[in-house]
Symmetry: D2
Subunit: 164 residues, 4 copies
């Protein structure tokens, strides 16, 4: 069976501390995801694109994500994405009505600072995509994994929750 | 919807370094799992039992796991278990033909030493159990998640793989 | 013999990730230093003051550090301080010509992100202050430990080095 | 000025988890010390020898440590050593009455499991050796840094303390 495709677009998941500036920069080489792959198992294929905070993503970035999904033959796709506009990209991808299983995920805390939450979000997305039958666009954050319309960020609490 | 039940039985997942003896002891209070719960989200219920390496588990221990599954009403159950006899316990639970979704998982490296693999195994089990329709007993280790008969430990390589 | 006094004024050493804002905030409770104390040994007394990046410190802040040193009877004092104006505070304290051994230290990487450099800077300051006879103001950063005028930050390379 | 010489002989400081056996093995390549060097600064020269738990060290091992100290011209030497017979090796080296500053150090917890205590022990030894004038053999463990006869392991409490 084909590997799962992981499209890594940036976001908090990939941030690393830069001692020269004191800022958290997005690692465009996706070292965090490669570390999960190395410490776990090589059961997914990684494509790194964009490398942005999701708040800075524009129409072209979303079109890019869609085209990478379409150009690759894998039917199970995880998209690592910033949390601020994860819902917007999910909506955009859902409108394309692809015949694929897609799960968006990310992190509230960079993997490089504390690997637990980022690993849990990614790995639960991975398990979910192996388990489900239904095609469509889903979100997996903080243990909430459902159709993308039913999982939203609570900006005050700092985690994702189910819609009522 | 009911939370997922996590039965934590010990194994490498829960080992912590003891500076007085230089040994790795099993933490029977399940601090590792509680840390995942705190850093992620409180979407599962934990019961700590047994607290053994799976090589030391006997018939009574397996009967205990079965009875805890039966006594609790949750229909989705993750069992954290040592890796050496995970297959044996899975077989034992499968024979009971429970009308529940059960996934066994564990770790090759203690969470306290490096949290990534343990978190990935647990969280992919969690995602899988949310995604699947079929009842039965499954194993989730190192990105391999299938019916328990199709995932086995490769003791020379140090990870689990699919049977042919 | 009296404990060493550690005055913790903030800086990168104490920064922690805030998932709600995505920023690195200064932890004014000094959790990092307490963790070193707990994992190592309780051989120093901690006073937390100011809680600022050193670039934001003003004359009053420096006067505050000086007064805390003067008010406490310990003759061996470590000051944890941001790196940008560590030299300025060192100069200010040197002018007071106190009859004490003073070492300023800090970190280029927050303890909460990677504990090694912060712990190394602090602990080498600690060892140095136990070893030296001479009174005066010193800086301990990145393995360079000397009179404060002979250790300076190289902002391009991201570490401290000796003056020629 | 010459770098400090660090002779890395093994012990808990250098232990790493082996997923194939479940044991903690001594890393003879000294990856922990190299990591401190890389994250801190390249101000010391490393020689890896022996690679044993100190409880397994024999007369030949101690003779080897002595000969490496004698063969190298550095007058400031840190010896990373297991904790169980650190006092014995210190005594042995003291009898040689070398005209050098020697500090023995090690760890109660492996660097690979939690870097803080190992880094603190090593770095305080480093700072101490830069600060002191007196030649002789010292021990630096858990914030206690003195002549080797005045710092001993408390096996029940799991840390080193001063003799009365």
């Amino acid at each position: 069976m084909k590997k799962i495709l992981v499209i890594n677009t940036g976001g908090t998941f990939n941030k690393v501390y830069n001692p020269l500036t004191g800022n958290l920069d997005i690692d465009k080489k996706g070292k965090a995801l490669k570390e999960i792959q190395n410490l776990w198992l090589n059961t997914f294929k990684i494509i790194n694109i964009i490398g942005k905070d999701s708040i800075d993503m524009d129409k072209q970035d979303r079109a890019k994500i869609l085209s990478v999904i379409q150009e690759n033959s894998e039917t199970r796709v995880i998209v690592i994405h910033g949390t601020d506009t994860m819902d917007k990209t999910a909506n955009y991808l859902a409108k394309a009505k692809l015949n694929k299983k897609i799960v968006l995920t990310g992190a509230m805390v960079p993997y490089s600072i504390n690997p637990t939450e980022a690993t849990a979000n990614f790995s639960s997305a991975y398990g979910y995509i192996l388990g489900i039958n239904q095609k469509g666009v889903h979100i997996s954050m903080n243990g909430r994994i459902k159709n993308h319309k039913r999982v939203i960020k609570n900006k005050e609490k700092g985690y994702f929750e189910n819609t009522k």
